[in-house]
């Protein structure tokens, strides 16, 4: 894909922060591509056995894509929110396609490295978690967003609070409750399947 200019991406981020939904659809692939590029790049430099830091990559992507002079801290938080959503899609999408391939549906070819990153069992867990998160979003969208940012985006309590415009205490409380709720839902699902 042709490289977008920081101006363009920054404008899209601002538009989206101002409530333009279509801007997000344009923005997502751009951020995704940058994250992927950076992940490739860092992976090549890391020593074997060293895991990549998602937060570092997201930070880097932010610096690369966004013109810092024209944005405010809220926009940064929004950007991190997008990254978290993308990370969730990457993981959940990947887990689903593995899950799917296992049931004989598709023609998924899993490379050795990929298989090492996410075991069969973890892939199934990931699918269950993604489903449960969707269900949670129906009841309480904020809690679902908090899990997305914390778990998939690797964001701290403070950063999450910043994006959502609530206090850290609220994020803490929601996070605790959301975890209990998700654990219970996933437990249910496992029981239903067995």
């Amino acid at each position: 894909m042709t490289s977008p200019s920081p101006d363009e991406v920054t404008q899209l981020l601002l538009d989206w922060s101002n409530g333009d939904k279509a801007a997000l659809d344009r923005l997502m692939p751009l951020v995704y591509e940058e994250l992927r590029r950076l992940a490739h790049h860092y992976m090549g430099r890391e020593r074997p056995g060293h895991t990549l830091q998602t937060t570092a990559i997201v930070n880097e992507a932010y610096l690369q894509l966004i013109d810092q002079r024209n944005v405010q801290w809220q926009n940064r938080a929004h950007f991190f929110g997008i990254a978290a959503q993308l990370m969730r899609r990457v993981l959940a999408g990947y887990a689903r396609s593995r899950h799917y391939a296992k049931r004989g549906g598709g023609a998924r070819q899993v490379s050795l490295e990929e298989a090492m990153i996410l075991s069969e069992e973890r892939a199934a867990d990931m699918v269950a978690l993604d489903d449960a998160l969707n269900a949670l979003a129906e009841i309480d969208e904020r809690k679902s967003q908090i899990v997305e940012m914390r778990f998939f985006g690797g964001m701290s309590i403070e950063e999450t609070a910043e994006v959502l415009g609530v206090s850290s205490g609220t994020v803490m409380r929601d996070w605790t409750m959301a975890k209990a709720w998700l654990r219970r839902e996933i437990g249910k699902e496992v029981k239903n399947e067995s």
Binding site: D25, F151, K179
Partner: protein
């Protein structure tokens, strides 16, 4: 859940957490003040709370980064590309990535292939590819994948194709050693795809196991026609194409291996034609049979050298017992010199088909002989059916020789029981009509033979000729015909629609192909029955087709369809009966369901029950009235409800896709018995299982009769809305009106149904749903019109 309810759960959860674990239960009991649901909800959340564990604390983020780093996927799940939403990555390779996507306009799943970006730098090439891919797709060949759209996403080309559930041949080979029979079947279908493409001037250029998909139902699909054009080097020269391909692979960091199936001329970068595909298919067949590729090497260059210089080891080295014919075929396909290869995919196809037929016959012959004796050909068999047990079969030999038309094959089974040996022999006519003999032997002597059809004993040539339905000499027509049969036997609307196209094409290829005319006529019969065509028109066409078939050759099937035409189109009941009698004469083992249906519609229910109580032969259960449903239906018409219910119940228990129909019939019987509550309960089982509007319309009748007027009217309106698209609903609409007590509307709809020759009007005389109308003179008029009353 209501927001305040959820808020309350939240508050209580946190309030309880603030207390000592020991004090929580008491606190909740008090705070919930008798609201048990609330207490259970919060308790269960508390039980799932574990402050010490690391559930979703640390796992994901860095995993995601790792996956991203490994990912070849340029599209994220959930992302939209035009009208397509990405659901999952299905695979990645040198030619880009394949995603499972949803077409959001049509709500169907399709595959999206995103091609590598470097191809876009040459728009000419992209256009050429697009033209070729579309041309291949437009051949509409069952073994060639259908392309829905070719487009560009921010400069990157993508292709939308049908989504094929199944495995690639590569995966199949990795999972299990292929049986020779399976390998042949795949080879035949790929050759058939190539034959069609080559005829249209399209060369695939990249036939390999990754590009061949196997569906669970056995259909093989060849992917990516024309795609290889994109990688082809502009300048020809030694190794240019192979190098270009290798460089593509290196760039994307994927496993090398595609050179393995390249023809020598392709590997050398020379111009390629259809014969290059034949070579590649030869290499694929080799691998399926031998379990290894014909040309090996540690590096790309080594493989190329092997392709150019070496002869592959004989298949028999890796697959002992492989037929010599196949060895020769593969050798000829893999000839280094194009001129020495098969020149046409069709030639290879014919050889493969012949071998398959021979092997199938051999397998049947093996079944007639005990293990240990082998190697006989059909001709040899006629001379000797001797077994290890030294059965003397001279007498039967003579019989077989005089009674079997020359083009029949002898197959059968031997069963040993104590000292007696039962030898079941079936004489397979070339077109598939089977006549069964059972001849019992004791040691040395045939003592009894049963079920010898009289017509086979007739010695005059004319009679024999009638038994052999002429197949076509035209291989293409035959393939199209078989494809059509495959779809018509699937018994779904969509598949049936498709089958007609194949039969029409088969007739186009060979207008004297009687069987294709017969099946085309049957197709129109089904169209009328399913209501997919205006019945007047469908029956007109069915008649034309069957008359043509009969002009070419008389067959039992054709007579049967002519009988259907007389029943539904002409309402000529005695004429229909005559045709059916002739059909049975021609093939006593043929399907008798239609005769039974004729007895039913003319009100001869007892006769029909007696007829349905004997065992029928059912060649194609899929498209015809199944016998096991005939009997309960007739019993319920005769008012023998408990027996009828028992019959339907058996079908329910079998859990097949006919279960919905059985529940529907049970509900209708309950209505007759006045057991309305039970009837409505049955409908709950039906609703989820209905496939067609006419079935839904029958639910509407049950609702109306059981007093659920509002629901009945809802279905009634729905059905009326469909009458411009479905042409078999008028009689059903009339039954709903009749049950709602609106005689005028009921009769008006029935009259219209008669005007249009809708299929359902043949049941006017017997269908109890019309009982409330019978006394009306207008109904009597209609009965006369369809010649079911004098």
């Amino acid at each position: 859940m209501k927001a305040d309810e959820w808020q309350r759960i939240n508050d209580l959860f946190h309030a309880a957490l603030d207390r000592d674990p020991g004090a929580r239960a008491a606190f909740l009991a008090h705070a919930c003040a008798g609201d048990e649901d609330l207490r259970v909800e919060v308790e269960s959340l508390l039980a799932s709370h574990d402050p010490s564990d690391n559930f979703i604390e640390s796992l994901a983020p860095d995993l995601a980064a790792g996956l991203l780093a490994e990912s070849h996927a340029r599209l994220a799940t959930g992302q939209s590309v035009g009208n397509y939403r990405v659901m999952a990555l299905l695979g990645a390779g040198g030619m880009g990535e394949v995603y499972l996507t949803e077409d959001t306009r049509l709500g169907r799943r399709v595959a999206l292939k995103l091609l590598p970006a470097q191809f876009t730098t040459e728009p000419d090439r992209l256009h050429r590819f697009e033209r070729e891919a579309r041309a291949a797709s437009s051949l509409n060949h069952p073994n060639i994948i259908t392309i829905h759209e070719v487009g560009q996403l921010e400069g990157e080309p993508f292709i939308i194709t049908e989504f094929i559930e199944g495995k690639t041949l590569r995966q199949q080979m990795a999972a299990a050693t292929m049986m020779l029979r399976e390998a042949l079947e795949v080879a035949i279908q790929v050759a058939s795809a190539l034959e069609a493409a080559h005829k249209a001037g399209i060369v695939h250029r990249d036939i390999k196991p990754e590009n061949i998909m196997l569906r669970p139902d056995g259909l093989v699909k060849v992917l990516d026609f024309g795609l290889a054009k994109l990688t082809e080097s502009q300048s020809h020269g030694p190794g240019a194409e192979a190098m270009a391909l290798a460089s593509v692979q290196t760039k994307t960091g994927l496993v090398m291996g595609t050179v393995t199936y390249m023809s020598p001329e392709q590997a050398r970068g020379l111009a390629v034609d259809a014969r290059s595909d034949i070579f590649s298919l030869g290499a694929v067949i080799y691998e399926m049979v031998a379990g290894r590729v014909p040309f090996e090497g540690a590096t790309t260059s080594d493989v190329i050298v092997s392709i150019l210089e070496r002869e592959p080891a004989p298949l028999s080295r890796f697959a002992p017992g492989v037929p010599d014919e196949l060895e020769q075929m593969v050798k000829k396909a893999l000839a280094k010199d194009q001129e020495e290869r098969y020149q046409l995919a069709n030639d290879l196809l014919i050889d493969l088909r012949n071998l398959k037929q021979e092997m199938e016959l051999q397998a049947k012959l093996d079944a007639v002989r005990p293990a240990g004796s082998k190697g006989a050909t059909p001709a040899g068999l006629r001379g000797s059916v001797d077994t290890d047990e030294q059965l003397t079969t001279r007498s039967t030999d003579a019989e077989v020789a005089t009674t079997v038309p020359s083009a029949a094959y002898l197959v059968g089974k031997i069963k040993t029981h104590k000292r007696a040996v039962a030898l079941g022999l079936a004489v397979l006519m070339i077109a598939g009509a089977a006549i069964i003999y059972f001849i019992y032997f004791t040691r040395g002597k045939a003592i009894h033979s049963i079920a010898v059809p009289p017509s086979v004993n007739a010695s005059n040539d004319e009679e024999k000729k009638r038994l052999t339905k002429p197949e076509t000499e035209n291989a293409e027509a035959n393939q199209l015909y078989k494809e059509g049969l495959y779809y018509s036997r699937k018994n779904t609307d969509e598949a049936t629609l498709k089958s007609g196209e194949y039969f029409k094409q088969a007739i186009e290829k060979d207008p004297t192909f009687a069987l294709a005319h017969v099946e085309l006529a049957r197709y129109y019969w089904l169209m009328a029955g399913y209501g997919n065509m205006r019945p007047n028109e469908a029956w007109q066409k069915a008649e034309e087709a069957v008359v043509k078939a009969l002009a070419i050759d008389e067959s039992s099937d054709a007579r049967e369809i002519l009988a259907a035409v007389k029943m539904w189109k002409d309402w000529d009941w005695s004429g229909a009966e005559r045709e059916l009698k002739r059909a049975i004469e021609l093939n006593p083992q043929g399907d008798r369901a239609l005769m039974n249906r004729l007895l039913e519609t003319s009100g001869r229910i007892d006769e029909a029950i007696a007829d349905a109580s004997v065992d029928w032969n059912q060649p194609h259960t899929g498209s015809r009235l199944a016998r096991e449903e005939r009997l309960p239906k007739l019993l319920s018409l005769a008012g023998r409800y408990s027996e009828a219910l028992e019959g339907w119940q058996k079908i329910v228990e079998k859990e097949t896709d006919r279960r919905g129909m059985a529940h529907l019939a049970i509900g209708e019987i309950y209505v007759r018995q006045g057991r309305y509550e039970e009837a409505l309960a049955e409908m709950l089982e039906v609703i989820a299982r209905v496939r067609y509007p006419r079935e839904r319309a029958r639910i509407g009748y049950v609702y109306a009769a059981a007093g659920k007027r509002r629901e009945a009217i809802k279905i009634l309106e729905e059905m009326k809305g469909l009458t411009g698209k479905r042409y078999n609903l008028g009689t059903h609409i009339a039954t709903i009106y009749a049950a709602l007590g609106n005689k005028d509307e009921a009769l008006a709809w029935l009259k219209k149904a008669c005007d249009e020759h809708e299929n359902g009007v043949v049941d006017l005389k017997v269908d109890p749903r019309f009982d409330t109308l019978r006394a009306d003179p207008r109904f009597v008029d209609l009965l006369r019109r369809v010649k079911l009353a004098s």
